[in-house]
Each structure stands twice: as C-alpha cells, then as structure tokens.
C-alpha cells in the first residue's frame, strides 16, 4: 500500500514538467492556476431566497444575464446556463459555506476543483492567440472584462472569461484536455513569444 505521507498533490499539467521562463518582452504569458476552488452552483435565479443566500455566502448575486460574470472579494461567479453557475474562489472551504447557505432551498453545490484546470493567457497578443482557435468575436467592442463564454477553443470545449484589458483570459478546461490545450496555446503563441510564469 502506498505511503500516504509521501504522496503529493499534482495538477493535470504536472506530468509535463513545464519550465518556468521565457523572453521578458513575450507577447503572451501562460500560467497554470492550480487548486483554485471551483464549484458548480445550481438554483433558480427567480428564487429571491436563493439569490439572497448566495449573496450572503459569496458577497455577490449570481449573474442572471447570459455570458456575464459577477465578482466579489470572495469569489467570481460565471454564468454557464439559465440555472447554473461556475464559482471560482481562493477560499478552500467555500463548498461547505455555500452548501450551508443554500441548505433547504431548491439548489445544489458541487465541488469540481479537480475536474478542471485553469489556465491564464495574458499579454498584448493574448487576443490574437485566442482568435486563432475560437469563433467567438473577442473584439473589445463585443467582449471585455466581466463577460464569459462557453465555446470551442482549438476544437475542445472550454469556459473562459476576460479578467482585464491587457487582455487576460482565464480558460477553464477539463483535466484530461489540459495538456493538449497547454501545448496548443504554446504553439499558437510561438510567433508572438511565450513566457511561462508560475502562479502566485
């Protein structure tokens, strides 16, 4: 039997032995954001008790408008369906807090942290890299901070949102596709220069 003392937590990208570094004037930077709490929240946006309970736990109501994001100091809440949201947070105990907050209501909280990997793509050419493999119009006139999209990127299904004007994108990908997407983004960014940064 494996000695539990010697086991270490690994992310979906750990087996790639990614080397941190790259040119300082790189057009894009890539960062894996490991182990950030990710929750799927389900409930009825028309239920005032539900939205109030969520606001109490997260500091913000879940967005009701498709493709938008609300955020607070505690969490970022992304619209994924009319009755479903993805919650990002640095609070590792948030699943318990949120489950308690919506207890007794027609709602569900599912922790999916390990099911996904979050990759941040940032830099002055980040938009150019994104539009190589994504059919969504990411021009600033159409898409900016506070908006999220579920679509295809490099032929795989992802959820991403823009977090600042740099621009930066946080791309949520299923763990089994993470290695592919990382290599895809490195390759797509090659012409602009890619720097790999450690999260933190």
């Amino acid at each position: 039997m494996a000695d539990l003392e010697t086991l270490t937590t690994r992310t979906a990208l750990d087996p790639m032995d990614i080397v941190i570094g790259g040119p300082s004037d790189a057009g894009v930077t890539l960062t894996e954001i490991p182990f950030q709490t990710r929750l799927v929240l389900r409930g009825l946006p028309s239920d005032k008790k539900f939205t109030a309970a969520v606001k109490g736990a997260l500091g913000v109501e879940p967005p009701s408008k498709p493709g938008t994001v609300t955020s607070s100091k505690t969490a970022r809440v992304l619209w994924t369906a009319p009755n479903e949201w993805m919650v990002y947070s640095d609070d590792t105990g948030l699943a318990a807090t949120l489950t308690k907050a919506v207890a007794g209501l027609h709602a569900a909280v599912t922790e999916v942290t390990e099911h996904y990997t979050l990759i941040r793509l940032s830099g002055r050419h980040a938009r150019d890299v994104m539009i190589k493999g994504c059919a969504i119009d990411l021009h600033p006139r159409e898409f900016g901070p506070g908006q999220c999209v579920q679509s295809h990127l490099g032929r795989i299904t992802v959820l991403f949102d823009q977090t600042d004007e740099t621009p930066s994108y946080h791309i949520l990908v299923r763990a089994s596709f993470a290695e592919y997407l990382w290599m895809y983004l490195e390759d797509a960014g090659l012409e602009f220069g890619v720097r790999i940064e450690a999260a933190g």
Binding site: P66, G67, T80, A81, P82, V149, Q150, S151, H152
Partner: protein
Amino acid sequence: MLHITCPWCGPRDDNEFHYGGEAHILRPAAPEKLSDGEWAEYLFLKQNAKGPFLERWSHSAGCRQWFNVVRNTATDEIIEIYPMGELPKSPEGIKAYEGNWRRQSAAEKNAKAGVSGT
C-alpha cells in the same frame, strides 16, 4: 456551416450544437393499447420533410439547453426558434406542425388521451 441562434447565448456555429431529431413526438400514455404497427409509427417513422421542418437542437458546447427550431430542409433557412414545450408561431411552423401525418396517428391520440386523464 449553419449559424444557429441559441435563445440564451446568441448566434453560434453549428458545430457547438447537437441535433435532436424531429420535435413534438409525444410518448403514448398507454402503449399496450397500440398495435405493433402503431407502435412502430411512434418509434421509427419520421416526417423526412422537404421544406419547413420542426426539430430539436441542444447547445451542447455552450449552455446545454434544448430548444426547438423550424428549419427549411431544402434551403437550410432557419425560420423560427422557440422554447421546448411550446408550439411554433410562424405561419410556416404552424403549417408544418398541423400538416404532419403524426397529428392523426394512433400513437399521438393515445398520448393526448393520457395527458387529459381519460
């Protein structure tokens, strides 16, 4: 490539969607009262229209919601998009719904009898 307007997410490429076949096929409430032929009509026979056709789509790579579409199968023109559980409102959609042989089928009459509780 078709552009399909998801009622939630807006216009997207068709490779984000999953096709769900003919819409408005009601499941018989008392299948034991149908003959084998009538049951086979419910299970296997589809309209295969040339022209406006009522069909279901799911935005599987996006919000994963199902909805109904009236699409002209000859030109691929999308005439109307409407929610699940509702009937089409466009003239083409109404005509396609009412003109479908299924409205007269024993399976659908059986299903509707079950819905009304008789």
